[in-house]
Amino acid sequence: MKTLTAAYRWSVLSRCIAAAAGGYALVTLLQLAFTAALPWDYYKSLLFSSQTGYLYYTGVIIWCFAARTARRAWLGLAVVALPLILIDAWYLLHRSVT
């Protein structure tokens, strides 16, 4: 059995954090984006986003462990998070004005 290098262990830890915390953050961002984008009452969009939220969360977990390197895992999360952050920021600003 091959011995595991320190670099490998750090990579696993990094991916775990990306999957757990990154996934949580991403689903939260997505939840807000749904509330912004869907033309429904708040509770309906919230309910819809939480009903489907764990599918996205699971997707994030799979991505984080399937990516070739830990860096790529984080990068992928950032690529998805960026437009969501923009939508959410626009929504929050717009909402406070009206």
Binding site: W40, Y42, L47, G53, Y54, Y57
Partner: protein
């Protein structure tokens, strides 16, 4: 991570399964018992009488109405729960006094003899019953509720991710339906794990995913808080939107005495609207008043989403006033349906037994997965002539403790129900303490004993714990197996027979494990094992 998508998913599946496996095993096990929670309640209160011939719903209603008319003619409301569905094994009535100034009136309960209407006070022992037992699958025990459900949410997420990655790992799901190669060591365990997973795959996916939906708000509260503001009112606003309180419109009391129509006479209309035997609960508002209303409610089995459908009758004239159906939006309907699938209240007896088997299959799926983790690594290390490390030492022992010890602990819960003094004031709490003290002992035992030995010994202990339950029942109550079979009391008998079945399975496992261990010691060096596959 390993090269390739499938390999990395296999790695993920393995480790997700290991970190959450033991608690998930407990969750699946106690959650499965939730499908028979009311039946366990019944076994755990043996004072509760059994009625072999409860009479028709019409006869029961007549008896209940006569009693309520006598003891509470001017109550604010009456409730009648008939024998028929799973909801109650006896004819139970309750009534709420008219409110005197501030606050609601007191509520009284009474069980009646369904034939004579005579009140029965059976003095049930204090017990947590099946309710406390199945609630452990999301409340755990000795942990504050809000912490426990967060732990469960994280575990559920891990479970779901482990299932999805497990499916990805599989090349031929269809083939796994028909593949089991017994007596091939590691290969057989893997086949068994796959077989248990794929045969009930839709069930596993549904119960796991719907499990999320119960506590999504608590798990991810930040967006609702952002929208509705912090604090308790946020949750209230959200839930009022999702589940608006819907009730048929009922008139105030007219304070004019008018004799009630016989409730039994309403059942003709109920049978026309819903079909025979669907209604088992009847509520009367303002009985004996000119504006009395009778609300007839269906059994839980009537639909998956269990909508609060009701037939509303005028209590004085007996005319059908309203066929009430709550009107939900699509998201709420989805929510109700998913939660309904999770709870399984809709299931009739045949489906309920299937659900039980699938739940046990899921528990075994988790158990075999945990065993595979240790077996694979042990085989690989032995083949490479390397010493076993602490991880395997610990997982081996925790596996024995959890997989055999947790069912033994649940048996202890049942034993405590029969052995603790009936008059003991804290007996319901001590049933739970007995369960967890046993579990602690079960976790400690393999730490001081070689796991091969502990495994066999604990399996025999488990056999005795379940096999002797019917004996214990016979010694401590008058409701022994012969009695309940003779009376046709299938719930009481079903519990005893299931306990015997569990004991039989446990005994078979004990014999098999000791045989295979005897062979392994003869072989000494398991050369064949090295040729076996590696899972990950």
């Amino acid at each position: 991570m390993k090269e390739g998508f499938r390999q990395s998913m296999s790695w993920t599946h393995t480790w997700l399964g290991l970190v959450a496996g033991w608690v998930l095993y407990f969750v699946y096990l106690t959650g499965t018992l939730g499908y028979v929670d009311k039946e366990i309640d019944y076994w755990m209160t043996p004072e509760r009488p059994f009625f072999a011939q409860p009479g028709t719903p019409r006869e029961q209603l007549a008896v209940a109405q006569a009693h309520l008319q006598q003891v509470a003619p001017h109550a604010a409301s009456w409730n009648i729960q008939m024998i028929g569905g799973r909801e109650a094994p006896s004819l139970d009535v309750s009534w709420t006094d008219a409110s005197s100034g501030a606050g609601r009136g007191a509520t009284h309960r009474q069980t009646l003899d369904p034939q004579t209407g005579a009140p029965i006070d059976y003095g049930a022992r204090a017990t947590g019953g099946g309710q406390v037992l199945y609630k452990m699958h999301y409340q755990l025990a000795y942990i504050p509720y809000d912490k426990a459900i967060l732990i469960i949410m994280v575990l559920t997420l891990i479970m779901f991710a482990a299932m999805v990655t497990g499916i990805i790992v599989h090349k031929n799901i269809f083939k796994d339906f028909f593949t089991f190669r017994p007596r091939k060591g590691q290969r057989s365990w893997l086949d068994g794990h796959n077989l248990l997973s794929v045969t009930a795959l839709p069930f596993h996916i549904i119960v796991t995913y719907s499990g999320f939906l119960f506590f999504t708000y608590q798990f991810m509260p930040s967006v609702p808080h952002l929208i509705y503001g912090e604090g308790r009112s946020a949750g209230l606003q959200f839930y009022q939107g999702v589940y608006p309180y819907q009730q048929p419109k009922l008139p105030q009391a007219a304070h004019l005495n008018v004799p009630m129509t016989p409730l039994a006479s309403l059942m003709d209309q109920v049978d026309v609207s819903w079909g025979k035997g669907i209604a088992t609960a009847v509520e009367v508002r303002n009985p004996g008043d000119a504006n009395a209303r009778v609300l007839v409610k269906p059994q839980e089995t009537v639909s998956i989403a269990y909508p609060e459908n009701m037939l509303v009758f005028d209590g004085a004239s007996g005319k059908l006033v309203e066929d009430f159906r709550p009107d939900d939006h699509a998201a709420a309907d989805t929510d109700h349906a998913m939660k309904g699938l999770h709870k399984g209240l809709f299931a009739n007896w045949f489906l309920r037994i299937l659900l039980l088997f699938m739940g046990v299959g899921g528990t075994a799926m988790i158990g075999t997965g945990l065993l595979l983790w240790a077996n694979t690594r042990r085989t690989r290390l032995l083949a490479a002539k390397q010493p076993l490390h602490l991880g395997i030492w610990l997982v081996d022992r925790l596996n024995v403790s959890a997989i055999i010890g947790m069912p033994v602990a649940i048996a202890a819960y049942f034993w405590a129900n029969r052995l603790l003094p009936v008059e003991m004031s804290t007996r319901a709490a001590w049933e739970v303490h007995a369960m967890y003290l046993t579990m602690a002992a079960m976790f400690a035992y393999p730490m001081f004993r070689p796991p091969e030995r502990a495994r066999v010994e604990m399996l025999w202990l488990c056999t005795a714990a379940y096999g002797l339950l019917p004996v214990l029942n016979a010694l401590t109550t008058s409701r022994h197996l012969g009695h309940s079979l003779g009376e046709g009391d299938w719930i009481m008998a079903g519990f005893d027979l299931t306990a015997l079945g569990c004991a039989a399975i446990s005994a078979v496992c004990a014999v098999k494990v000791s045989c295979s261990q005897a062979k392994a010691t003869v072989r000494r060096r398991p050369k064949a094992a090295s040729a076996e596959l590696a899972v990950s």
